[in-house]
Amino acid sequence: MLGKLLKYETKATARIFLPLYGALVLLAVINRFFMAIRPEGHSNLAFSMTLGTTATVYGILIFAIFILTFFVMIQRFYKNLLGDEGYLMFTLPVQPWKHIVSKMVVSALWMVASVIVTMITVFIMALDWEDLRMFAEIPRALAVLYQQMGVHGYLYILEFCTLCAAGLAMGILNIYFSISVGQLFNKHRVLAAFGAFIATDIVTNIITTIGIWLIGHVLDGMPIQVGMIGSAHLIMCTLILYCLFYGAAYFVGTNYILSRRLNLE
């Protein structure tokens, strides 16, 4: 059932994002074309204005895509699960956690896709064929990394990617949890969701502060020697654990509300 939910969630959101991505790529190609045929030397007002316009539209579109990625993440959860469409979604024979996971995974994928598409359009506008050789250099760069840092270099990359994924999941789940808390109220559910977001922020800060103090207290006086390489790993792993811990807490909380405290208006 999770697979089917993912399929329909992708379908429901692709119709928003794919046309925008298409428009962005098209604008990048147009910009590239104008820049290529730009007459050198003397300035041509009409030409500058056209180029200026397409470049501005391109910029606005990138801005719009990122705002929309964020907005759609919230709207899909709020409208499709807790609005009228929730009457269908929550009468499907599907465990609530699958709804959360399908929404989260698809939102995260669109966020990543928006970043990748934006990068591609920048390449389209800025890169020459010569520059494309840069990509051929990647294996060599990795080899240099390995020479200098050994396996730690690769581990850092892996840790960084894990941290990004865990951080993204935590951020999305934080918002889902806040929206779910909002629906526990009979009135002013949106306002309550904002309140819940601020409240969870305060609570997590308090817990984190106490946690850091406790760990510091325990570690204090222990004869631990970690070098530069070790402390970098330690910091990365701590951050990953931080995201996983809070992400799991938000997930459990959201799942509890959606399965035990559901009250659709």
Binding site: Y8, F90, L92, P93, Q95, N186, R260, L262, L264
Partner: protein
Amino acid sequence: MTPILQCKVLGKRYGAKEALSSVDLQLGRGRIVGLLGPNGSGKTTMIKLASGILTPTSGEILIDGKAPGIESKSLVSYLPERTYLADWMRVSDLLGFFGDFYQNFNQEKAKEMLERLDINPNDRLKTMSKGTKEKVQLILVMSREAGLYLLDEPIGGVDPAARDYILNTIITNYSENATVIISTHLIADVERVLDDVIFIASGKIVMTSSVDEIREEQGKSVDELFREVFKC
């Protein structure tokens, strides 16, 4: 045999407002039941509790002996009083959707009913009138071979001709072991299809009876009795 629907001292409040209080009820299989009551009497709340999109404040509600969950949801076919379909979807997408998630969904039956009501499967819901959307929803819901149908105001928004078709659809499409609950205040229209009635007012069950009993013992139609019981 376990009753298909059972309420034990079931209660639901919204803040200070009590929508249902101490409802005790048992419904057998193979019946068409009218859940009748004035506006705001708790009909919708009761149906939403049975479908699992509301959580009871007190007591419990059981479908086929189990609390609402995955198993009850594959057994219950629920028609809400509002449009719950995403309006960018085509009717054909919805057929696929229902077929994907409900094993007891009968595609052929749905296509047949759509054709009968002149609804093009390639139309998007966005382009349809409210009445047509309601027909699509009803077709989807009645095309499931479910054990319990919960129909909240199924004929509220459609014209009288469509009402007849819909009611006929309901009585011809449920199997012998299935129970249909129809909530409405348009009693005269549904009376002829009902086996049993539940009168509900201010969150309490006022009366449960079979339609035959009302006719034989009281010598009245359900509509007449309703007007008498709920006289303003």
